[in-house]
């Protein structure tokens, strides 16, 4: 059964959400258009879309990002947006984009976006959960623990040097 639409939101609250999203995204260095859509997305809460130029890139944040943010056992809005900014850096940072554009698959890109998010997020807690997210995505792909930890640490430290 389809999930009921999110509860209605006043225009004031909607603007408030958008302002908060913009503040976080700009702080993380996001460039392009930033939108809020008051619907469920099944994306986890936000989505990045690459435009023809950096100014045309789009970040769309959905209602579930706020639902998750309000749950202490889930990702914060900051962590969700840091992950999306990770996608933008992968696509826009010249040294990284050359490997992403054609050669890597969606799963690897998601792992790298989480790792970049774990480097750029402001709060230590968000950094940590994004690191765990990348680690989790690796172990659920069948990698053994020691190997996954080593690989995730290596990738993170290399990305840190590049960014």
């Amino acid at each position: 059964m389809a999930k009921a639409p999110p509860p209605p939101l006043s225009s004031v609250e909607r603007r408030k959400r958008l302002r908060r999203i913009r503040r976080i995204a700009r702080k993380l260095g996001f460039h392009g258009t930033i939108e809020y859509r008051h619907t469920w997305s099944e994306t986890g809460g936000a989505q990045f879309a690459l435009g023809p130029t950096p100014a045309d890139d789009i970040l769309v944040v959905f209602a579930e990002a706020f639902e998750r943010d309000s749950d202490p056992d889930d990702f914060s809005l900051e962590a969700i947006i840091a992950h999306e900014r990770g996608h933008q850096l992968l696509r826009r940072e010249s040294k990284l984009s050359r490997m992403v554009t054609t050669k890597i698959g969606t799963v690897s890109e998601e792992i790298l976006a989480s790792l970049i998010g774990s480097l750029i997020a402001e709060k230590e807690e968000d950094r940590e959960v994004l690191y765990y997210k990348a680690l989790f995505d690796m172990v659920t792909r069948g990698m053994d623990l020691a190997q996954a930890v080593r690989l995730v640490d290596d990738l993170r430290s290399l990305l840190e040097k590049i960014l």
């Binding site: 099944e42 994306t43 986890g44 809460g45 936000a46 989505q47 998750r68 749950d71 056992d73 889930d74 990702f75 962590a79 969700i80 992950h83 999306e84 040294k95 490997m99 890597i104 698959g105 799963v107 690897s108 998601e110 792992i111 790298l112 989480s114 959960v129 765990y132 997210k133 680690l135 989790f136 690796m138 172990v139 659920t140 792909r141 069948g142 990698m143 053994d144 623990l145 690989l151 290596d154 990738l155 290399l158 990305l159 040097k161 590049i162």
Partner: protein, 84 residues
């Protein structure tokens, strides 16, 4: 997309995996690996890809480290003004 899996669920599974009890960790790994059927080439592809990415990132870092850094042009020092 960060995915729809709740952080608490991720932490729970990781905690289980990271538990110091090596036997249980091994069982967890075995269970996970058993779930990967012989035909699950997609997972293997991802792992190979990540290792390839690590290699590539290392090359980028090495390139950066070995590339001679441009020295900043130093401005010629001004002649002291006459009489000072």
């Amino acid at each position: 997309m960060i995915g729809t899996k709740k952080l608490a669920a991720i932490k729970k599974e990781l905690r289980e995996k990271l538990r110091k009890d090596k036997k249980r960790v091994q069982q967890w790994v075995d269970r996970k690996q058993a779930r990967l059927s012989a035909g699950d080439s997609e997972n293997r592809r991802v792992l190979e890809e990540l290792m390839w990415i690590r290699k590539l990132l290392r090359e980028i870092v090495e390139e950066d480290e070995t590339r001679p850094k441009r020295s900043r042009k130093t401005k010629p020092q001004k002649e002291p003004a006459a009489g000072t």
